[in-house]
């Protein structure tokens, strides 16, 4: 009988700890599929961050390093610079990448570190129980913005891909979503490109994946996906903000 669906080899055969309805599982699978398809598991080193994906070192079959909060791009830099022919990726959430790790992110990007960053943006701190993230929308209620995020008090949300796309070292800055099968296919294409860029020594590649948090948003998984489409996508439009290949093609 022909196998039509299987677990990618690069994805460990263990139960994930993520909440029901969370899209981390889909994103993990996409990364693992890409590692399989490129045949690079033995040369890949992943860097786990702090947040919901803190245990991702248990979920990928490649070598893994656990980084301090926000420092994954610096750790990845250390690995990649000493092992330039390896594939190094970080898997970070919005608090890790866009708040405490902003400096590490921006400088790895502007140096053109030849690494891949998978950036999962769900507009909230999930692991610590629903606090405001740098990407929390204006008006969005969290445990630390109980009256809704107020521009005058908590300031504005940050658009990471748009910001990084201005930097010379960036090869790819793309925002995708995994809310529909069509978007999942498109997301995988960008993730694959982000790893191929490493192989081709093109520089820093980031794929921002919009994600849901049914638990801390206080919604059903299905409603969460709707909320993502209605509220997050207008603030964080999908698209490729920078692709040096596209530029070359022009």
């Amino acid at each position: 009988m022909k196998t039509v669906f299987d677990r990618p080899h690069a994805l460990s055969d263990v139960p994930l700890h993520y909440c029901p309805g969370c899209t981390h599982g889909i994103i993990h699978r996409l990364v693992a599929e890409v590692i399989d398809e490129l045949g690079i598991e033995g040369q890949t080193i992943g860097v786990a961050s702090v947040g919901c994906s803190v245990f991702s070192y248990n979920y990928f079959e490649c070598d893994m390093v656990q980084a301090a909060h926000g420092r994954a791009p610096a750790v990845a830099t250390g690995i990649k610079r000493t092992h330039p022919d390896s594939f190094v990726f970080t898997y970070q959430g919005d608090g890790d990448l866009a708040a405490i790790g902003t400096a590490e992110t921006v400088h790895a990007a502007t140096r053109g570190e030849n690494i891949t960053i998978i950036f999962v943006n769900n507009a909230i701190y999930g692991m610590t129980g629903g606090q405001m993230a740098p990407t929390t929308l204006l008006g969005q209620v969290t445990t630390t913005s109980p009256y809704g995020r107020d521009k005058a008090i908590q300031g504005n949300p940050i658009r990471v891909c748009e910001m990084l796309s201005t930097l010379d070292g960036v090869a790819l800055a793309s925002r995708v979503s995994v809310d529909t099968p069509k978007n999942i296919i498109a997301a995988k294409k960008q993730i694959k490109k982000a790893f191929e860029n490493q192989r081709d020594k093109k520089g820093f590649s980031i794929v921002e994946v919009l994600s849901t948090c049914p638990t801390n948003w206080g919604m059903s998984p299905e409603k969460s996906l709707e909320w993502l489409r209605e509220n997050m996508m207008p603030q964080y439009p999908l698209g490729t903000y920078k692709d040096i290949d596209a530029k070359e093609a022009e």
Binding site: E41, G42, Q43, T44, I45, V47, A48, V54, F55, Y57, N58, F60, E61, C62, D63, M64, V65, Q66, A67, A68, R71, A74, V75, A76, T77, G78, I79, K80, R81, T82, H83, S86, A103, E104, V106, H107
Partner: protein, 355 residues
Amino acid sequence: MSNKVLMKGTEAIAQAAIECGCKYYFGYPITPQTELSEYMAKKLPKVGGLCLQAESEVAAINMTLGAAAAGTRVITSSSSPGISLKSEGISYMAGCDLPCVIVNVQRGGPGLGGIQPSQQDYYQATRGVGHGDLRLLVLAPSSVQEMAQLTVEAFDMADIYRMPAMILADGALGQMMEPVDFDSIPRRDIPEKPWAACGHNNERKKNIVNSLYIDPQVLENVVDERYKRYDVIEETEARCEEYLCEDADIVLVSFGITARICKTAIKAAREEGIKVGLIRPITLWPFPKKNIAAIAENAKVFLSVEMSKGQMIDDVRLAVNGKAPVHFYGRTGGMIPTPEAVLENIKKLAEEINA
């Protein structure tokens, strides 16, 4: 003519690192240790290595962590305020059992403090730096030759015990030049690094470099195991120089540049017939407590001499364990004690003993 090279302390550390196979340096400029980065920036590309200036000390220590996790010999350096920033990463490296060498060319503090030499980071270095139950190997050179020698030894010990090692120097040692002979530096056998996360090449199971253990029992077990290694280190690696201690009534305890000032004072005091000696800890952790305890059996009084308000004195008191009074003399803020002032203190103690 000898094979010696006249070098700055910071440069001697850098060259020693290169001599023992370290090809990677990550750092961020800060006075008075920037010459170390500059030396690396010049030399490392020529040996197929890399010197990378990070965006901050925080990033630099985490790049160091990444390189170490991937099994590479790596060094980073800074001065006091920068070490505070690195302390997070140092704690993670201890928690991940990663070897590396961290250099602290101390300057006056707290806060931005000053840029002149100090030994005010003794507590910080010997109490582990950063959060958690942890230790660092802390080596305290006293000459430019030792800056080189202890750097090589720090790399070897870090690899053997799988933990970060710190060179605790100061601005004077960093800036001064003395002859260095690299050929005479001893080397140890270094273990392989089968634990490194450098790609499994489909030849082994995956490696995970990690400091997170959610189950408290598991975390306790991991820390207990690490402390067994620490026990071995305390038992076997503590080192000090004993100088004119055999007949000494008064024993000075001092490390680094300050110990040399003490030696000058001791020579002068001996000429006046005062029986005074010096214990110079070379390892600050592990602290040479056995040597101090043994000498405390016969010594009448101890004097801890430091460039701080008195930090090492706590360890001296613990080692002396009430067998003799322990006094203190020190300067702080970047002021360096003079041999004359140390001599005055020795004379005062001599009078008290005779009274």
